[in-house]
Amino acid sequence: MNMRVLASVTLSLSLVASSLFAAGLDDIKNKGVLSVSLYKDFPPYSYVADGKQTGIDVDIANALAAKLGVSSQIRLVGADENVEDDLRNNVWKGHYLGGGVTDLMLHMPVDNAFAEKVDKVKFIAPYQLEQVAFAFDTNKVGKQPTLANFMSDSIGVEIDTLSDVYLLEAMQGQISKNIRHFENLSKATTALKAGEIAGVMGPRGELEGLLAEHPDTIQIQSLVTPGLARSNWAMGIAVKADNEELVKAINESMAALVKDGTVKKIFEQYKVTYTPPAIAPEVTAKN
């Protein structure tokens, strides 16, 4: 009698324990839904076109959900002041206005130094190496411009980004007077196509996606950027820190999607160069 009671107590304890630790993946499978946060109004990665969620990150999220045998539920969210805020709002705590958290958030940096600062989440499954590039109008700056061209020609940036801060101080501040600030790169690339500015500086994936259809006079490439501390970084997926089984499942699913060419195909579909982050992201130049 005593033994049986004890046994059943042990059993129920272990049940409670396992359901606590495996809550993430079990819950996802039981509900049949993987919830994912993606940035909104963020072509070519995540945006709404013709009333439908569209983009590279949308397709990757859907492919991951399919690998897990569940459907995806994508939430398009506004960017807060920094990624730490986005992770608090969408992955580990939830915004104080409500809405709760999602299982994953894509387009997150996979960077050891950053991960040390943000211990509430795990950064996993890097799927693309993003890098800073320039789109420019060859009629205005020729086919082989250098940064110095923008000491006399205008250049667009998304406001308050790495490119913005870099150009404001580059070439001893000689470029700053030619910077045109835009709310986002969609507007900057539209101005480039319209001939209003000579170039745009920003992440290559965004420039390529936004300029998927462009006149021959527009070229996209990297330029030498002296003093730019970080010119590339790996993007991957953020998961709440204690969710080991989900981490494992997502890592395996992403590896399979990379191996069978799904990820490459998704990038190509949006006219974005697929650059798998095979090596660790380049560390800060001077560190």
């Binding site: 963020f42 506004g78 406001i159 980004t161």
Partner: protein, 585 residues
Amino acid sequence: MKSGDLFRKVLLASAISFALTSAPLMAAVTDQDIANDATTPNDVVSYGLGLQGQRFSPLDKLNTDTVKNLIPAFVLSYGDEKQRGQEAQPLVHNGKIFVTASYSRVFTVDAKTGEELWQYDHRLPDGILPCCDVVNRGGALYDNLFIFSTLDAQLVALDQDTGKVVWKEKMEDYKAGYSNTAAPIVVNGKVITGVSGGEFGIVGKVEARDAKTGKLIWMRPTVEGHMGTLDGKDNGITGETNKSWPGDLWKTGGAATWLGGTYDAETNTLFFGTGNPAPWNSHLRPGDNLYSSSVLAINPDDGKIKWSYQWTPHDGWDFDGVNEFVSFDLKQADGKVIKAGGHADRNGFFYVLDRTNGQLISANPFVNKITWAKGIDLKTGRPEYDDANRPGAPSAAEKGQSVFSAPSFLGGKNWMPMAYNPNTDLFYVPSNEWGMDIWNEPISYKKGAAYLGAGFTIKPLNEDYIGALRAMDPKTGKVVWEAKNKAPLWGGVLTTAGNLVFTGTPEGYLKAFDAKTGQELWKFQTGSGVVGCPITWEQDGEQFVAVPSGWGGAVPLWGGEVAKSVKHLNQGGSLWVFKLPKTPS
């Protein structure tokens, strides 16, 4: 005699007819009611207890002798789970108390019984990302309307009797980062508002609308280069384009007017403070960056700028200049009176300006430690910067040197309004003693992309206290007394002719102090932090005091050492009302 009788009859008749015709209009708040608010103790119809913002009541039944008999009359719970920062100032009119609450809510109670009459819950859209908590600081009364602004940047006018929406105007697009939490003011039939959204890409402005309809009358941008409007037509550019900004940065220059403003009828002038310039890194925008971190004196009739004064030219510390500018009479030793205004800035200096022309009269520290400037030059009106203590440019690749800067960006004084007592000639300033470490942060990300940001940690300057209610003499610039508080002070101040000063503490107390000595005379535990603004009024021959209770605001959103002094505090949401009974038991 006959003519006298006749006269008396006519007088009587006219008095009756006046009473009859005016009876149904009793409820309507007039421009006169607002203009006289500071001297009519039976109601509180404006933010600041009078548009000058002195927060002084001429009532004296409640005084240093009787305050010990002040007792709770009733309390209203705001209910549900939306218990965050209650920073509002209530209003009292026509037997009703009106108060706004977190998440853009409004409550109205019967001033006699405390029973709720109506509640308005503004429907907030999904996806708003307001900075710095979901507070609301109060409303304005005009005609039969209660007018307040919302987190999704709308201005809403409710019927005072029913709480039903009479008109609603979109002030700005919340999707572009705009929001609103300040109390509007009504000046001669116009409702005057600022706009918040301190983050990147926005431009501050002041707007005047017809208070009865919400129709826009004029708009005045607060960054130079932007066009103002009057009756839908261009009304001149603010300042001079590109005079104090490089490149096109003026187009997104910040300078949000997120705390609203005050008004002085003697000079017919609005005073609106402006926030810090954008971007945050001052090295990217050489120049004064007008009119950021300034006060603008604006003509309420047409929205033209009369004068301006910049508290922190070329701000590099996030010193918003939004704190209130309070009009008062500066009494000189020779008996002369200067029409002046007082202002306690984030940057730690207490300024006295001539409010007719913006000339600096004096600037003295009201906190113990200021590192960013050695002083303010009275001849030029400009700060004497300590350049070694300006945060560095974040484009340096490695983690840059850390600079310790005081006050912290939360300021020697933040949003919470001070009070001025014309009997003691003292300002009562809710101040905080804290600094911050700032360093370049090369390993940072924004919207998924690498970014060069700044890291900072706020640090208390003393072991035993952060907050200090300080009595400041505007004539000498000296602190006359102080009352320390362990947690940072975050609530407004009220002073009265009863020689009293009221303010709340995050620890949950509403406290009363002797206005001359600073001696604590009374306190009451409200159950949650008090970060709202107390008011007082007279009703049926008894003096009342009301204050919202509910911990929140910006402080608990920031971590570091400061968090230790506030992390145990419980949230709440209620309106406490106290009274001094006619015959104390």
